[in-house]
Symmetry: C2
Subunit: 106 residues, 2 copies
């Protein structure tokens, strides 16, 4: 995750299964990652994909920023195309971070 | 995620970076997944790995079950070996699920 002096309190877990093909998905996913990285309240993300199954965790300063990102016009277009073309299914969970443990090999 | 009649309220986000080699990791990861699947309070998990970076989300009935799993003796051994041998770094976040949106293609 990108480092920040503040600790994020909110996160969004996004677990998705892509449809076969999913043409144009990769380009839009990259565009959205660039767009969100400049979005107020965004504090970093981790994303992993293994075949059709992907998990993205994004971190947020507050819940209001999550809602504003959900309502962002270009993000709305991506969501619409996602439902129409790209995703077989997804689960999105807005969560509050209650406890954190970090480990780094010395 | 494994389905359940109840909705989970708690989850654990585990983001890990493996060291090179990480001998024996895969076997232990599989053993832990089998072990946790029978653990009281466990409600399912999703796990994705892309090279060295892995994200696992596990879902739980309550926070007490998460703590009991953290203290499980065999799981403790796995954690110890993880820090000594397998992980370059990890972040573990205990979170409370505040909002859920599901989508499934019709």
């Amino acid at each position: 995750m990108e480092q920040s002096s503040q600790q994020p309190v909110w996160a969004v877990i996004f677990i998705s299964r892509l449809s076969e093909g999913a043409e144009g998905y990769r380009e839009m996913a990259q565009e959205m990652m660039e767009r969100v990285s400049r979005f107020p309240g965004f504090m970093g993300a981790e994303s992993v994909r293994e075949g059709e199954l992907g998990i993205t965790i994004s971190y947020w300063r507050d819940r209001e920023s999550i809602q504003r990102w959900a309502d962002d016009p270009r993000h709305r277009e991506a969501q619409k195309r996602g439902k129409e073309q790209w995703y077989q299914s997804y689960t999105l969970q807005v969560v509050r971070i209650e406890q954190v443990k970090n480990f780094r090999r010395k």
